[in-house]
């Protein structure tokens, strides 16, 4: 007989393969947060004075704010005093100069994750910044990138080596007052990646950051800042995993992208934080603010995300389309299973003339999970001839999950064109039976159907990531023929 709904649910359940813990000696702050912790953090990272002030200002503002409650997610209040705000693997005073100096345990951890940091073993086309708990442990291909004029380094290093760039751009897209988690991040962020692509440069390889939470009872607060100067071009990939633990862990990142005139930034994420167990115990709270400013005319930012992990995902990679003719894109696959909750989507703010945005969101919900698309398309008075196209599809697997769509549209410019399409469907028993009747196992059939559903998004991913994303969903590659 063909697979019942229950069986379909079982098929979607996949074991979390990145759940191991690496035993390391670490330098970890005691839990708790007050101004002295921020002083200590800034000091340990040897930051310039302006950074400490920035952090303190953010912290003071954060204390006046309340945790947002509008998202369609449920969780117990977070005790911010029980979290440690800094955890770093112990190492030599001035940090590793080469891979030989990195703790072999860490190298081993990344190797297990399929991210070998040894440049010889890497795919030649991708440079990696590896962030382990609160610090960046390695950045590959620095030399080759330097020859092209590209700066790709941990943000803590950029603070020391390029303070003028940080001062100018940090917080210029996501100000410290933006929201609760962004303010917290600004106060306590520890590391993350910094990218600067000079005028007219096409970055010679894909840049990638691999975030790993290892230590228990710590939060990961990373900060990414990417600046694409006039006419430049960069593709950036981000991957994330964490060990399986029974406690929830907080990940509150901020990503800021700045695209100047004629610049193009492509930002791809495969987020696979530990989602918690089958009963909803543990897992990462992924509360992330990602925003791009298409500051210059004809600039373009494209967000692509595949979100399969985290107990709760709360993120809206957005584009502020400031420059005339600028383009914002958002392609998303969010898969929730068991008790996972996702409230994710995007904001497209049209300010410049002839600005265009495209939103394609695919939500897949299985088990008892709740999957919400929340999106804002805002067209200001100044945005003559702005255009938006939104397509928002939900796929339900089983009968105990939920899919929700909250589109917000605000248009103040009469020449604007805004389109919104939404569908909700279920993997039907008829579809499954049809595939089985053609010889496919129920498992392959579900994979194929889900994969087909996500096709428009997967084709936006860089090749290496498309493969990883499909493996993540337990899928075989669609379109390998013809």
């Amino acid at each position: 007989m063909s697979a019942s709904t229950q069986e379909i649910n079982n098929l979607i359940n996949q074991e979390y393969k990145q759940g191991f813990v690496t035993e390391l000696e670490t330098n970890t702050f005691l839990p708790g947060l007050d101004e002295s912790v921020i002083h200590k953090l800034s000091k340990i990272k040897n930051e310039p004075e302006f950074m400490l002030e920035y952090r303190l200002k953010a912290f003071r503002h954060w204390q006046t704010m309340k945790s947002p409650e509008w998202a369609f997610v449920k969780f117990d209040p977070i005790d911010y005093q029980s979290i440690s705000y800094y955890s770093a693997p112990k190492r030599k005073e001035d940090g590793p100069k080469s891979l030989d100096e990195i703790d072999p345990q860490i190298l081993e951890a990344y190797k297990k994750l399929g991210i070998p940091l040894d440049e010889q073993e890497r795919l030649a086309g991708v440079a990696v910044d590896a962030v382990f708990d609160s610090v960046s442990v390695a950045t590959t291909f620095k030399g080759k990138l330097k020859d092209a004029g590209v700066i790709f380094c941990p943000i803590s290093e950029a603070l020391r080596d390029h303070p003028e760039l940080i001062k100018e751009y940090l917080g210029s897209v996501v100000p410290i007052t933006d929201n609760y988690f962004a303010a917290l991040n600004a106060a306590v962020f520890t590391d993350g990646s910094f990218v600067y692509i000079p005028k007219g440069v096409r970055c010679p390889m894909e840049l990638s950051t691999y975030f790993r939470i290892n230590a228990a009872n710590t939060g990961q607060f990373e900060r990414t800042l990417i600046i694409a100067d006039e006419g430049s071009h960069v593709s950036y990939l981000e991957g994330c995993t964490a060990p399986m633990r029974d406690e929830n862990q907080l990940h509150a990142a901020v990503v800021e992208l700045v695209a100047m005139k004629d610049a193009v930034i492509k930002y791809s994420t495969v987020q696979n934080w530990y989602p918690g167990d089958k009963n909803g115990l543990g897992g990462i709270y992924n509360f992330v603010t990602k925003r791009a400013d298409c500051r210059g005319a004809n600039s373009k930012v494209s967000w692509t995300q595949v979100e399969t992990g985290s107990a709760i995902t709360w993120k809206y990679p957005s584009c502020v389309l400031t420059g005339d003719n600028s383009v914002g894109e958002f392609y998303s696959v969010a898969l929730t299973n068991n008790y996972q909750q996702a409230d994710t989507g995007t904001k497209m703010i049209h300010i410049g003339k002839n600005t265009r945005s495209t939103i394609v969101s695919k939500g897949i919900s299985a088990g008892k999970a709740q999957n919400t698309y929340r999106g804002l398309v805002k067209v200001l008075k100044s945005a003559e001839n702005a255009r938006n196209y939104t397509q928002c599809d939900s796929l339900l697997v089983g009968d105990q999950c939920g899919a929700h769509t909250f589109p917000y549209i605000e248009v103040k410019q009469p020449s604007a064109q805004v389109e919104h399409e939404a569908t909700t469907s279920k993997i039907s028993e008829d579809q499954l039976f049809f595939c089985q009747q053609r010889g496919l196992s129920a498992e392959d059939a579900v994979s194929m159907i889900v994969n087909g559903f996500c096709k428009e998004v997967f084709k936006e991913l860089p090749m290496e990531f498309a493969v990883e994303a499909q493996a993540l969903l337990g899928l075989s590659l669609e379109g390998s023929v013809g």
């Binding site: 007989m1 063909s2 697979a3 019942s4 039907s428 028993e429 008829d430 579809q431 039976f433 049809f434 595939c435 089985q436 009747q437 053609r438 010889g439 496919l440 196992s441 129920a442 392959d444 194929m448 159907i449 994969n451 087909g452 559903f453 996500c454 096709k455 428009e456 075989s476 669609e478 379109g479 390998s480 023929v481 013809g482």
Partner: protein, 251 residues
């Protein structure tokens, strides 16, 4: 090929098939005719493994094996093919991808290696021409936005490529105009061979004008009430089904 003995099938508590007996030998074409609600579709579903039915009595043996014990995908790999009355749409999955996945799963089952991409395309394109289909069909999502006729032709295309041993055609003629019916029938006729059998489930006789059956069985109220040669279909066309149902009721 297929031997059905005293098969009783229920949906929930409701008996649908009440003792079907049928012997199908290699190369034969059997037409199952009958009025609406007689159990025709149930028969094609139970043979192909759709869930939701309970076998309360009897057996179905396919090539010496207990057919009813096999999961649907194993039946498919063993050569049982159902051409659906209402083929489903699978958005985002191209026809050619489904075909290749299906063919490979069958080949694997028989210990063969996966088909080479070039050989596969050559094979598929040949069959597409045979069915007078546009090659563009291959790259469209499975049945998405297809007309009724296109969907049925697509079923026959799948059949032509997977080369099953037992083909069950469930109301393949429904929703087809006369041109599409001709093409589909020619497709089926081209697949006739001494080691391939067909079960055609149909309400109307007109399909049988194009695909000539060796045997015609009339299903009424869950039982085969009359069997005969091709001429029986003509008789039914003339007299309708009611005389058989009446005959059964008075018997």
């Amino acid at each position: 090929m297929l031997s059905i003995k005293n098969l009783h099938v229920s949906v929930g508590d409701k008996p649908i098939l009440k003792g079907i007996n049928l012997e199908i030998k290699p190369g034969e074409i059997h037409a199952i005719m009958g009025p609406n609600g007689s159990g025709k579709s149930t028969l094609s579903h139970i043979l192909s493994g759709k869930s939701g039915y309970t076998v309360t009595e009897g057996s179905a043996t396919y090539q010496g094996k207990d057919l009813l014990e096999m999961p649907p995908e194993i039946r498919a790999r063993e050569g049982v093919f159902l051409a659906f009355q209402y083929p489903v749409e699978i958005p985002g999955v191209s026809n050619v991808y489904l075909l290749k996945a299906a063919l490979n799963s069958i080949r694997k089952h028989h210990g063969q290696s996966e088909v080479d991409a070039m050989d596969f395309l050559t094979l598929v394109k040949g069959k597409v021409r045979l069915l007078e289909m546009d090659e563009k069909f291959l790259y469209r999502a499975v049945n998405e936005g297809f007309s009724g006729g296109e969907k049925k032709r697509n079923e026959i295309l799948q059949m032509a490529i997977l080369e099953p041993k037992l083909c069950i055609l469930d109301e393949t003629d429904s929703g087809l105009d006369i041109d599409a019916l001709k093409i589909v029938s020619e497709g089926v006729n081209s697949l006739r061979s001494p080691d391939r059998s067909f079960v055609m489930v149909t309400h109307y006789q007109r399909l049988l004008d194009y695909i000539k059956p060796d045997f015609v069985h009339v299903l009424a109220n869950g039982q085969i009430v009359k069997s005969g040669g091709a001429e029986l279909a003509l008789e039914l066309e003339e007299k309708g089904y009611s005389w058989l149902e009446d005959a059964e009721a008075s018997a």
